[in-house]
Symmetry: C2
Subunit: 369 residues, 2 copies
């Protein structure tokens, strides 16, 4: 809901104007129909968005054909190949050129579209994006940022990296802090995000060596990066209102993300069982329908669908492989918001500026106020 | 519920017989009254359990004095010092000798009690336990194992390490697999537990180098260790019914544990808000009371209260610092079950046997069937 608030304030563009999103129609668990369904939902809600859709032309034309309103908003790019969920990234780098995923990333590289969206294989998408878009100067390891339902007014916190790389040294964690803060400003509209570093305790003496080092680096860069650094946070803080951006390595972040999803699903299933247990509780569930739906909406993973690849020369949004039309539409909304806010250029400028600040600091005495 | 099922089948012991648990009455967030409350609950439910209680004698006598039935079941050991939640482990090692925590661990060292239970500072308790009880031969890093609500018939899965050490190499992870399987056999009554190794994907090529190495080591030891090794698992599998014991390093395990707790609490709070939203939904909540209570019981962290320190010459159970009487009583129940099953001796025997098997394997060709 937060993510596309500004769209109604923007002036109506030319027919062929507006934001262009490049969409990989293939590779998701539910096939191109779910992706086209998401595009249709998105187009209906947002007049300022256009699409370049990549996949086998006959199939996509058949799907679009049923929705004549979409014809004017979609460019179809024929790509016969599909990257499957089991393909290894290295294979895709070597042989992936004819695939819809490759083609979708290529549209961003060529500047035809601002953001690419795919429901496909995460590892392959990251490898392709790195190969074709290349890393931003000053970024050693790109990251995937996810949104996490939280107690904050904006409804979500940002966590990164959730799986682009299984390693991260102190410099990488600093880059994640800068990129995550930039994402929170442009994606969630927070002018001065609060950044925390994930650790096993909040005391300064705890944790691995690279975390203690990153702790110093991030604290020193908070002024230049326009964020507040609140120090170490723990797993229990991920949904809390004391932090907006949680920085961690891709191994820990991925485990935390999947643990959170698994726990929410467990509690949800137990809840369903509890309400299915007796006639009385079934009746109660009926009475509480509105409330339960409101709850479901708050923790619905489809609403927070979209991992954003950060640190490349171009923005790529990874939608859940199992996303249905509603999930795809959420990912498209996020892509639109990031495209419209000029997120990519701002992020690149911020990284460049911080690099300069860091270079300046290392020549002076350490420890800026 | 699963944990002390056997108690009713055991023959009634002599008045001074039964299992003796050493309890640190101090150091928890709610003070000695909560701990004594837990002891009282536990004593009431279980005639076979006796306690050595450590803390300032006058205060403990005053608390027990009100419950004359407890007098015959509790030995009080005077200890004036208290380890606080903010004390650093290194300080406690140097100056902790007069504290209730030190005294509680000492009773296990002296053989007066089988298991020690404390609600105090985790880092200090682990450091003290390592200093006084020493590591089991063959164990390089002890681990803390926790119980995780799951879809399995036994209601819980075991995860370790959740924070004894922030590092673990492949050999450590193998020891965790052996200790976790032994805990699941004796604590949860599973004859052949299924062990999984936590990673960012289930494919064999994923993950850090030490994980791939541990993957081979654990697979090779499954026969000798009497468990089934199911390979890599992900964060979403922690509450699943495809695994019983989840092995990971203490950094990742601690983040996962706290993330799970935080997520369950978030969903619970959202649920409460949802039911508080309208008169209709409040009425519905009233109708669904029994079902909601059943749900709450399944995910109540007090029911799974008790991290077990594994890999020492003696068993120590760490209760949540914020545990109330019900939480303390759950930790005492777990301690009783482990003491009665002869868990410690079995675990030590299993480790010794596996060391022998490993030594034998390394002299042969690699790769036992």
């Amino acid at each position: 809901m937060t993510l596309a608030e500004s769209k109604t304030n923007a002036p109506a563009p030319e027919n062929k104007g507006g934001v262009v999103i490049s969409v990989d129609a293939m590779g998701g668990d539910r096939g191109p129909a779910a992706v086209m369904g998401g595009i249709a939902q998105s187009a209906e809600k947002n007049p300022d968005i256009r699409f370049i859709v990549h996949g086998p032309k006959p199939e996509l034309e058949r799907l679009i054909g049923r929705r004549s309103d979409l014809l004017a908003r979609c460019d179809i790019r024929d790509a016969q190949g599909v990257v499957s969920m089991t393909d290894k990234p290295s294979q895709v780098l070597r042989k992936g050129e004819g695939t819809s995923m490759w083609s979708a990333v290529e549209s961003v590289r060529q500047g035809e579209a601002t953001v690419a969206v795919s429901c496909g294989n995460t590892g392959a998408l990251m490898a392709l994006s790195m190969l074709r878009l290349r890393k931003l100067p000053g970024v050693n390891r790109p990251a995937i940022a996810c949104l996490w339902p939280s107690r904050n007014p904006q409804g979500f916190n940002v966590m990164l990296d959730v799986g682009a790389d299984i390693r991260a040294d102190a410099e990488d964690l600093l880059a994640y802090a800068l990129m995550g803060a930039s994402y929170a400003r442009n994606g969630l509209g927070l002018s001065r995000p609060r950044v925390g570093l994930l650790n096993v305790g909040t005391e300064e003496h705890k944790g691995r060596a690279e975390l203690k080092q990153a702790h110093e680096l991030i604290a020193g860069m908070s002024e230049a990066g326009s964020f507040d650094y609140i120090g170490f946070v723990e797993g229990s803080d991920l949904p809390s209102d004391r932090v907006d951006v949680i920085v961690t390595d891709g191994f820990t972040g991925n485990v935390a993300l999947k643990t959170g999803e698994g726990t929410a699903k467990l509690v949800g299933d137990f809840l369903k069982e509890a309400f299915g247990n007796s006639v009385m509780s079934k009746f109660a569930a009926l009475l509480a329908m509105t409330s339960l739906k409101r709850l479901q909406k708050r923790i619905d993973p489809r609403r927070v669908n979209g991992g954003v690849f950060l640190g490349l020369n171009g923005t790529v949004v990874k939608s859940h492989g199992s996303a249905d039309a509603t999930g795809v539409s959420a990912a498209l909304k996020l892509a639109f918001q990031l495209a419209q806010s000029g997120f990519h250029d701002r992020l690149a400028a911020r990284i460049a500026q911080s690099l300069a600040a860091e270079a300046a600091t290392t020549t002076e005495h350490k420890g800026m106020s």
